[in-house]
């Protein structure tokens, strides 16, 4: 294929859109937990991995269709978020006091959790990648051909994004959540129950990550180690889009999805990681002010 053909292929646009919509739901979860609590959860991507395996178990073991198990997995991951908050993070944050050093340490904490999760999964399922066949019939629309599972995944992902956006925009609790992201201490003064907001944002964030995992498992193979690249991608999205800015996050996810899909198509699949980490390092280095303005500002 010539370069122009690559650029104008509808097939690639569809692939980019799909990648972007999955990144968007993973990132919106990371954005909410980071935005409300200032804890950078590098184990976030591992929830995606857990979601993928959960769907795989429910499908191969009990024959439950992934589109149904998506509901169960989302709720279970949300519950996990609530438990993690009550069991560990609440105490940690009460002690932390918000200095930079403890923030760096909290990242190590999540990194440790991530190692535990990944390697427990390796002990349970081995490191061999898994996959299953679900809705794999091919639909054709004009020159485009796509499998049913990809269409379903795209639809669910977009619905989930819209639902979260609507919750934040119109729900009174969504408003409280945005207030905490904006100014945590001021939100407390005007009567927002900040602990409750933390808990809900973890529940939504974890649930969204689990859902993304279910969607990924429908489309491609997965291993216990897919989590970290997911975290990195989500992280790029929230830096590009801006902390706490959910709508811009969707735009940023689209940019990253396009960049990744077209970048790989124009070069070679071996450069996918170079591209991802390259964008990551550059955004972090070039946009440090973008990251910190909100925190240091008046």
């Amino acid at each position: 294929m010539s370069v122009l053909e690559v650029l104008f292929s509808g097939q690639l646009l569809f692939a980019a859109l799909l990648t972007a919509s999955v990144y968007a739901i993973v990132a919106v979860g990371l954005n909410m937990t980071y935005g409300t609590m200032r804890l950078l959860n590098v184990a976030h991507g591992d929830l995606v991995m857990i979601g993928a395996y959960a769907a795989y178990w429910l499908f191969t073991g009990l024959g439950i269709a992934p589109l149904w198990s998506a509901i169960v997995v989302t709720l279970a991951c949300a519950l996990l978020g609530v438990l993690l908050y009550s069991g560990l993070l609440k105490n940690l944050m009460a002690r932390a006091g918000g200095t930079a050093r403890l923030e760096a340490n909290s990242l190590l904490l999540f990194f440790g959790l991530s190692m535990i999760i990944q390697n427990v999964m390796v002990s349970v399922e081995t490191a061999t990648p898994r996959a299953y066949q679900y809705l794999s019939e091919i639909h054709r629309f004009g020159g485009l051909s796509m499998t049913g599972n990809r269409l379903a995944a795209l639809a669910v992902a977009i619905l989930a994004c819209l639902a979260i956006a609507a919750f934040l925009r119109w729900n009174i609790f969504g408003l409280a959540l945005r207030a905490v992201i904006e100014r945590s201490d001021a939100a407390r003064i005007v009567g927002v129950n900040v602990e409750q907001v933390h808990k809900v944002s973890l529940a939504i964030g974890f649930g969204a990550a689990g859902l993304a995992g279910v969607l990924i498992s429908m489309m491609e193979q997965f291993s216990p180690f897919i989590g970290f690249s997911m975290t990195i991608a989500a992280f790029i999205v929230i830096i590009l889009g801006g902390l706490g800015n959910i709508a811009a996050g969707f735009g940023a996810a689209l940019i990253l999805g396009l960049l990744e899909t077209y970048g790989v198509a124009l070069t070679s699949p071996t450069l996918r990681s170079v591209l991802l980490y390259g964008v990551f390092v550059l955004t972090l280095i070039l946009l440090p002010q973008g990251l910190f303005r909100r925190r240091l500002g008046p």
Partner: protein
């Protein structure tokens, strides 16, 4: 206190000097891996313990050093290649230092990780482009020679950390760890200090990587830049705790023995334990074992008084 630490270092030196004469390849192997981790962890501490800029990408220097030795193998003298490895790592730190060290807190941690991975994948892509998947080294020196060089590096790393820890420069680093803005207001040249500490902490791991390439006799980018190396270093440092060279010593001894027991048989259990240790020490013992001992001693003294 002073006496006990002098005795500690003397006993250690004696043990490590005796090991190569024990004739047991197994013991020399364990000794070598302890010295390697000691050199890496002490050098990591120069930046990360003293300034609080926790690097999760220490392996990048190690990998660059390995690569340089492998590429120049049998083309330049070995001693020159090892020194050049240190210089290359230092140069790399110097070049990326100013942009990277502007990024703070958790961002710095994750950025260093990403940077090391980026270099790894770039090198892998470059090697694949040249049609090379792994490189073999023939005629590498005997293990006792490798051991000897590593002993020198471990001592150098320990002396470096102790030296910086006690110096005016080290106090400057510790002041910016407590409060960067305040330190800057009081005239500590923070940008220059951080960069110098970064370069100092990079040189020895570069040389360690070079020596370990001789030990493994082959090079593969995914192994030489394995992020597990950085993670091990961090866990060793936080188990030990403290700013001085004694903290990492505890962590290194503990983890090397643990990995001897578990790594070959069940690596995933080793990694699970590593993860648990990370969580445990961050949540319960952020000062490390050394800090815990010191606090305990202080409390006992207060009780007596």
């Amino acid at each position: 206190m002073k006496l006990s630490s002098a005795v500690l270092w003397a006993v250690l030196a004696a043990i490590f000097l005796y090991l190569p004469f024990s004739g047991s390849d197994y013991l020399i192997g364990i000794g070598l891996s302890m010295l390697m981790w000691l050199a890496l962890t002490q050098s990591w501490s120069v930046l990360s313990s003293l300034t609080g800029y926790i690097s999760l990408g220490h392996v990048v220097f190690y990998g660059l050093g390995s690569y340089l030795v492998v590429v120049t193998w049998q083309q330049i003298p070995l001693w020159l290649a090892i020194i050049a490895s240190g210089i290359l790592a230092g140069l790399f730190a110097f070049l990326v230092g100013s942009p990277v060290l502007r990024v703070r807190g958790p961002y710095f941690v994750i950025l260093t990780f990403g940077l090391a991975e980026l270099v790894k994948y770039l090198l892998m892509a470059a090697e694949a482009y040249m049609g090379i998947s792994s490189r073999l080294l023939f005629g590498t020196p005997d293990i006792t020679i490798i051991y000897g060089i590593m002993l020198v590096l471990a001592v150098a790393s320990t002396v470096l950390l102790e030296g910086v820890h006690r110096s005016r420069f080290g106090h400057g680093l510790k002041s910016l760890r407590e409060n960067e803005e305040a330190a800057e207001t009081l005239g500590v040249p923070i940008a220059r200090f951080k960069r110098t500490a970064f370069v100092l902490s990079a040189i020895i791991p570069g040389m360690v990587g070079a020596v370990m390439a001789l030990r493994s006799t082959y090079f593969e980018a995914s192994q030489a830049f394995d992020p597990m190396i950085s993670i091990n270093v961090i866990v060793m440092a936080i188990i030990g705790g403290g700013d001085s060279a004694r903290g990492p010593l505890l962590g290194v001894a503990f983890l090397v023995l643990l990995s001897e027991l578990l790594w070959v048989e069940a690596p995933q259990y080793y990694l699970i334990i590593l993860g648990c240790l990370m969580v445990l020490f961050v949540v319960k013992l952020p000062e490390g074992l050394l800090g815990w001992f010191q606090n305990r001693r202080r409390r006992l003294m207060e009780q007596k008084a």
